[in-house]
Symmetry: C2
Subunit: 348 residues, 2 copies
C-alpha cells in the first residue's frame, strides 16, 4: 500500500512534468494540422518527425539544420520570431503537372462565365478556350494567362471568389491521379510543414498563384492560415455606403508574385527574410537566395521532379515552372536538391 | 501522515489540472507582452483584464462583445481564425500630438543626413528644416511629408532602417512628457491588446506610418510581432550577386496606408475583414466600417482625445489626423467613442 501511494505520487509528478515540458510545443501545435506529429511523444524524442522521407542527405540536412537553429547553445541559434519558413505551392506542396490547378480552375471559369460574355466567342484567348482548341496553360502566353486570370477573378468579393474556388475544388479531380486536387499534395511536405511548426517556425506559402485561391484550401489541407499565404493578387477596392461595407476585386493585377517579387513580398509582409525556403522552379531562386545569401545561415531546398513512375519527371520542359538555373546554382549556394524519386518514401 | 500523503496527491492533481486548463490560454500567451494579465489567474476568472478602464459603457461594451464572440453557444460566436483585431498606431496606441513620432524621426534624419546632401541647403522642404524655420508636421503639406519620408527612408536595407529608428527612439524623449516616446503608450490600450490576445484574437497594427518604423518597437512595446504590422511602405528591390543577397528600400512609395487603403491592405494581408477595429481619426473610418458594416457583427471604437489635463484635447484641429466625420458617424454605425478623460483611469 505504501508502495502504491508512492507510485501514485510519482505518476502525478511525471504527468505534471510532461505537461510542463510539452507546453512550448503545444503552443505552436495548436494550429490545425493535417499531419499530426504527436507533440507530446515528439517532445520526448520518441517519434521520427519525417517518416515519409528516406534516410539520406536531404532528410539529415533538414533535421540537423532545425536541431541547430532551435538549440540555444548552438552558434547558429535563431530566435523564434525570425524562424520564417517559406514554401512555394505549385510543384512544391502539390502537383502542378501537366497543368497548374489554378489554371484548370480559370479555364473552367471561362466556360461557366461564357453565357454572360457573348463577346468571348470572337475574342482571344477566350474564343479558343470555348472552342476547346486550347485547354492547358502551355497553350497560352504568360500575358494571355494574366488576361484569363483577371477576367475570371474580378468583380467579386474575396469571399465570393474563395467560395467559387472551394466549390470547384470539391467537384473536380486530377484526371491522372483520379482524386481531388487537394489530395494530390505531397505527404513528405505535409510532414515537413508540421515538423517546422512544432519547432516554432512560422510557416508561409509564397505562391505565384492567387493568394485567395490558395486560401480556399490552405488551412484545411496544409494547416496554414490565410494570413500566412503570400501570393499574387488582384487589386481591391473598398466600398462603403449606408451601413454596409465590402471589398471587391477590380479587373487589374496588383502583384504577380514570382521571382524577385517573392523575396520582396516576404520582407514586406513579415518584416524578415526567410530562414528556410523551399521551392521547385527557377521562379523560386530569389526566395532561396534571400534565405541563404551573405551572412545568413538559412536553408534552401528545391524539389526535383524526377519520379516518372510515381509522379512525373520534368525540369526545363515545363513552361509555367521550369527548373534549369536552380539546379545549376544549387552547388554554389549550398541548396539541397530533393530527389522526389530517391528522397521520398511516399509521394502522397 | 496518511492525511499528509492524501494532501500531496490532491496537490499534484490540482497542479496538473491547473496546467491542463491553462494550456489554451498559454498558447496565445506565449507572445511577449508588456502588460501581463496573468493567464493562469485570468483563466480561473479572478482578474479584471482591463483594470485601467473605468467602469462604464465603453468597458462593458468591450467585455460583452468579447464574451459573446468567444462563446460557442452564443449566436455571435466567431471562430478564432476570424478574430482579427486591427489597431491604428498614432493617437490610438501612443501619443501623436502635437507631432507624430515618425515625423520627428524624419526631421532629425534630415539634419543627420544633411552633410551628405549639400543640395538640401537650397531645396525645399529640406532648406527650411535645416534652417529651423519649419519643425513640425503641421508646417508641411502632405506631399512635402511624403518627400521627406522617401528621402530619409530609402537607399537602406530594412535592417539598417530599423536599426536607425531604434537608435533614435533610444536617445529621444517626448518634450512634453519628458520620457521616451515608447513610454508614451496608453496603458488601457496595452491591457486591451493583451486581453484580446488571451481571448484568441490575432492583433494587428494598421498604421499610416511606415511599417518598419513601427516594427522597430512593436514587439517590445506592444507584444505585436513584425508580421502583424501593416503599414505604409517604401518599394523594395531584391538584389543578389555571387553568394550574397539583400533587399533595399528604393526612393519610391509603394503604399500609403490610410483611409480605404487600410481596409484593402487588411483584406490583402490577412485574407479576412477585421472583427474588431480601433482608431482615432477620420483615416480610420474605412477600417471601422469594414469591421462593422453590413451583416458583420464586428466592433468599432474611436479614441477621443478629450483630456487636456492628462494628455491633450483635440479633434478636427490636428492636420495629420483629425477626428471630425468619425464622431458624426459613430451613432449610425454603432461605434464606441472612448473618452480618454472619462473612460480611462490612467493614460500611461
Amino acid at each position: 500500500m505504501e508502495v502504491v501511494r508512492n507510485m501514485k505520487i510519482s505518476t502525478y509528478l511525471v504527468l505534471f512534468v510532461v505537461a510542463l515540458v510539452c507546453i512550448p510545443s503545444l503552443a505552436t501545435a495548436f494550429e490545425p494540422k493535417v499531419v499530426d506529429t504527436n507533440p507530446k511523444l515528439y517532445c520526448l524524442g520518441a517519434v521520427d518527425p519525417l517518416p515519409s522521407w528516406n534516410e539520406g542527405s536531404a532528410k539529415s540536412a533538414i533535421l540537423n539544420f532545425v536541431a541547430n537553429i532551435t538549440n540555444k547553445s548552438n552558434p547558429d541559434y535563431v530566435e523564434p520570431e525570425e524562424r520564417i519558413a517559406t514554401f512555394d505551392n505549385d510543384g512544391t506542396l502539390l502537383c502542378e503537372y501537366p497543368d497548374i490547378v489554378q489554371v484548370r480552375f480559370m479555364l473552367d471559369r471561362v466556360k461557366d462565365m461564357a453565357p454572360d460574355h457573348p463577346e468571348w466567342n470572337n475574342t482571344e484567348p477566350f474564343m479558343s478556350i470555348l472552342s476547346g482548341k486550347r485547354f492547358a496553360a502551355s497553350n497560352f502566353s504568360i500575358n494571355e494567362i494574366m488576361r484569363i486570370y483577371v477576367a475570371t477573378s474580378s468583380n467579386l468579393t474575396p469571399e465570393e471568389y474563395i467560395s467559387l474556388a472551394r466549390n470547384w475544388l470539391n467537384r473536380s479531380k486530377d484526371p491522372h491521379f483520379a482524386r481531388p486536387y487537394t489530395e494530390c499534395v505531397y505527404k513528405p511536405m505535409l510532414e515537413l510543414l508540421s515538423y517546422l511548426r512544432t519547432e516554432g517556425f512560422k510557416v508561409y506559402i509564397v505562391t505565384g498563384g492567387d493568394a485567395d485561391f490558395v486560401r480556399a484550401f490552405s488551412e484545411e489541407v496544409y494547416g496554414i492560415p490565410s494570413e500566412q499565404v503570400i501570393g499574387s493578387a488582384i487589386k481591391l477596392k473598398f466600398i462603403a455606403n449606408d451601413s454596409s461595407s465590402s471589398v471587391v476585386k477590380l479587373p487589374e493585377i496588383l502583384v504577380y508574385n514570382d521571382g524577385q517579387v517573392k523575396a520582396e513580398e516576404i520582407q514586406l509582409t513579415t518584416g524578415h527574410p526567410p530562414i528556410f525556403a523551399y521551392g521547385n522552379s527557377d521562379g523560386d531562386i530569389p526566395m532561396l537566395q534571400f534565405a541563404t545569401g551573405g551572412n545568413r545561415r538559412g536553408m534552401g531546398l528545391l524539389n526535383h521532379h524526377d519520379d516518372s513512375i510515381r509522379e512525373y519527371a520534368y525540369d526545363n520542359d515545363f513552361s509555367l515552372g521550369s527548373l534549369d538555373k536552380g539546379l545549376k546554382m544549387a552547388g554554389e549556394w549550398s541548396w539541397q536538391v530533393v530527389s522526389m524519386k530517391n528522397d521520398w518514401k511516399y509521394i502522397f
